[in-house]
Symmetry: C2
Subunit: 147 residues, 2 copies
């Protein structure tokens, strides 16, 4: 059998490499590890090294954070994204959790669109007000009060 397509020595990243790539501190990365969010391997001298998967995970963590998820919530998400798949029950639980998250995300999408509209309408009001000021805003400006 023609075994696997060659090992191809997967790319490794040092902690500072990832830190600068994602513009976070090394402390932050270690902190995520403390919290069980990442689990890099160690080299002979006990130094961490990260592979593609670790890197992808870090990306996911940061993305989650940008949406206001706490590390704890992200941990759950990730537990789902990874699970050292041992038995079907675990997987099913993870799937259920994933559904919840999907629903959440979709709701967030809707809300984000609302937020966009909010800001657009504020903008419209401001533009109108500005036009008003620039034109006949002379006396009316001093006596501002009505609508």
């Amino acid at each position: 059998m023609p075994s696997k397509p060659a090992p191809a020595r997967e790319r490794r990243y040092s902690i500072s490499e990832l830190a600068s790539e994602f513009e976070i501190s090394t402390r932050t990365i270690r902190f995520y590890e403390e919290k069980g969010l990442i689990s890099p391997r160690r080299s002979g001298g006990n130094q961490r090294y990260y592979d593609k998967r670790d890197r992808a995970r870090l990306k996911l963590i940061l993305r989650g954070k940008r949406f206001g998820y706490s590390l704890e919530e992200i941990a759950e998400m990730i537990g789902m994204a990874d699970v050292d798949l041992d038995e079907a029950g675990q997987i099913r639980r993870s799937l259920a959790y994933g559904e919840t998250k999907l629903a959440e995300i979709r709701q967030r999408l809707d809300e984000l669109r609302l937020l966009e509209q909010d800001i657009l309408s504020v903008k419209a009001r401001l533009v109108a007000r500005l036009g008003h000021l620039e034109r006949g805003g002379l006396a009316a400006d001093r006596d501002r009060k009505g609508k």
Copy 2:
């Protein structure tokens, strides 16, 4: 004279009313006030009461929070949403700020769609894995932990 459609005494809300409506504590609401995010009126006995506008603002704050904005950022947004419009320069500055926020929001929309995709693909993998387990679960049979 057919005067105006009657004043219609605008609806007022107490702090605890809003708190329970939005499922936050009264402390939180007062905290937002300390930070300058809301400015309710006071009744004779120095008690806060909130009107529709205050309520809408609170909603906006909470919405912003759900997207990971800090209170400080929200304060800026709101400054934009409100400004006691005094001069055109202020308005222009606010408009510029609004543009920035809009750009941010749109990027977030894109990212959120990405996150959705991420989770969908994880889900697909899990489903596949599950199907695999349920069928060829021969070796896995030995490892079965029961449920």
